[in-house]
């Protein structure tokens, strides 16, 4: 009688087998022979293995993290979506009036392009004229890269912009920086059209 395991070589028969754990010999012996009938098995539950329930991450052992109340929903997408309460309306106005411009970047780059220098200089001038305004510079990446790398890339982009503003004389206390990586695209969709609009550093007014 060649069993299946002869065919899944190599096979070693050790002669003993471990079955229903526990010390109730009768049940174990019956099971060892594999002849115990199910009625007997039911009537004698000693020697049964208990599947732990309250273990580290067992059923019932997993507890969820607490809810943090007070945050507005993070809107994934939308130019002015923000996790911390900010002057979204003010920002909108400033952008509409041509006072604050979003700065865009090349793929996987965090240096400011020559063609964006004019807009960034306008931002610096406007901030210079409105000394009470504080802004948060939000760095973003397009979706193509890897999530963690994109968070770092967004951070680099926001800091490139911040450094330029500091060089233009804007006090560092008026500038805040946050990276959202690829998490908050300005435009949904795939293709260079969307991606080029998502690789950006946005300005959000946080105090005035």
């Amino acid at each position: 009688m060649n069993g299946i395991f002869v065919r899944i070589l190599p096979v070693v028969f050790l002669g003993t087998a471990l079955f229903v754990t526990g010390c109730q010999k009768r049940v174990s012996t019956e099971d060892l022979a594999g002849q115990a009938d199910s009625t007997q098995a039911q009537s004698n539950v000693a020697g049964t293995e208990v599947v732990p329930e309250g273990g580290a991450v067992g059923e019932g052992g997993v507890v969820t993290a607490e809810d943090i109340k007070g945050n507005s929903d993070a809107r994934l997408g939308g130019s002015y979506a923000s996790l911390t309460p900010g002057g979204d309306e003010l920002t909108k106005k400033a952008v509409e009036k041509g006072q604050l411009f979003t700065i865009y970047f090349e793929y996987d780059k965090y240096t400011i392009r020559d063609i964006d220098m004019e807009n960034l200089t306008k931002n610096a001038k406007w901030l210079g004229l409105n000394g009470s305004i504080k802004v948060r510079i939000e760095g973003h990446a397009d979706e193509r890269g890897e999530t963690e790398y994109n968070l770092a890339l967004g951070d680099k982009r926001a800091r490139s912009v911040m450094k330029y503003l500091q060089d233009m004389g804007i006090q560092v206390q008026r500038l805040d920086v946050v990276s959202y990586g690829e998490e908050k695209p300005a435009m949904d969709g795939q293709g260079e059209d969307a991606w080029s609009k998502n690789r950006r550093a946005e300005f959000v007014i946080i105090a005035n």
């Binding site: 060649n2 069993g3 299946i4 395991f5 002869v6 065919r7 899944i8 070589l9 190599p10 096979v11 070693v12 028969f13 050790l14 002669g15 087998a17 471990l18 079955f19 099971d31 022979a33 594999g34 002849q35 009938d37 199910s38 098995a41 039911q42 539950v45 049964t48 293995e49 208990v50 599947v51 580290a56 991450v57 067992g58 059923e59 052992g61 997993v62 507890v63 969820t64 993290a65 607490e66 943090i68 945050n71 929903d73 993070a74 994934l76 996790l83 996987d108 890269g145 890897e146 999530t147 963690e148 968070l151 770092a152 890339l153 951070d155 680099k156 800091r159 946050v178 959202y180 998490e183």
Partner: protein
Amino acid sequence: MKSLKKATLTIAVFLFVLISPAWGKVYIDLAAPASKKVPIGVQEFKDLSGAPSAKDKAERDKLKKELFDAVVTDLKFSGFFSVIDSKANLEDPASSGITAAETDFKSWRAIGADALVKGGFLVEGDRLTVEVRFFDTATERQVLGKRLVGSMRNPRRIIHFFSDSLYEELTGNKGVFTTKVLFVSNSGGNKEIYIADYDGRNSMKLTRNRSINLSPQWSPDGKKMLYVSYKKGTPAMYLLDLTTGRDEQLSSKSGINISGRFSPDGNKVALTLSGEKSPELSILDLNTKEYKKLTDNHGIDVSPAWSPDGSKLAYVSDGSGNPHIYVLDLLTKNTKRITFNGKYNSSPAWSPDGRQIAFARSDSGKFNIWTIRPDGTGLAQLTFEGDNRNPSWSPDGRYIVYSSAARGSASLKIMRSDGAEIMKLNTGIGGERAPAWSPYLK
């Protein structure tokens, strides 16, 4: 020469089998080339408490299906078996029993089954007792039989416990059927973190802060989860105790606090901090709460992966102009670049035996999973279709879970570490990314 030696050894083992008077522990050599799959029959589970009342019948029928499905999933996942469609089964589950004596093995051999799984269950309130038996149909012997008690809240978990035992019986190695996977999904609008069984089932939401939650990672003891969250506005690192629910803010320095990874001894966390300057790697000592900076340059350094002995870190740096994988020796402080091709190399993950690093590489915006040895040799591509990212090894190193996207929708997949036998995880959540396979949990 080598193969001749192996053949001799195989024959020796074979003879030993033939002359062995008893049957018992059976080994499948995991290192050997994949052998032909063993056709296996699985019988519908029997309700050992007899005919249920009309009220209970729907619940019992559902339970029958669930137990059966879990057995089939585990058997298929093991890679050793091909499960015969149960429609072909000849033996009537109603009139036959679940022991060897009550089984007509001839009817199973007739449908081509070389092995057979039978089981029964007993429901007593929330308490669920499951008996599972694995038979060799040629010898008509039971190879493994277990009676397990668990809860009606999670019948599949009971089967996974059995599968761990069976796997160990057959291979001598620990099974991964009771392990779990952490992942991120944005299916509810925001990225939250979830946990599920290794096969994607029994998924459960772990974070509910409605901000952005990223990069879940297991502590080596499987009791805690490290993750990044925007719940207080900026990307900070948190530690959630999975046994108590206690959530602790671990690192919230100015700038980004991201890509945290537990050291193998669980005492440290390697992470990326940008501070006031550039995203650099640091090590946070969990006992002293002190940070030690590892890299100092003007570029990006992220996604550290510890070698299993804790002596090295593989990570991603854009020092050469685009993202590549580097290995930092924590003792000598020497850094060695190990990837030179591909426009974008990301997410290194060290295999549990320390011999390989899995990572995701892209030339076109679509990533694929590759492996490379820590010294930069032995490069191998494992996936070829779609967009595949974030590889994470099973604790036995036999499988890799990763996120896979096609036409914009992401899901999790498991493949064997040589790239074969891809299986999709059905969590029922959708949009799953950034999987992290747990260590052994028992």
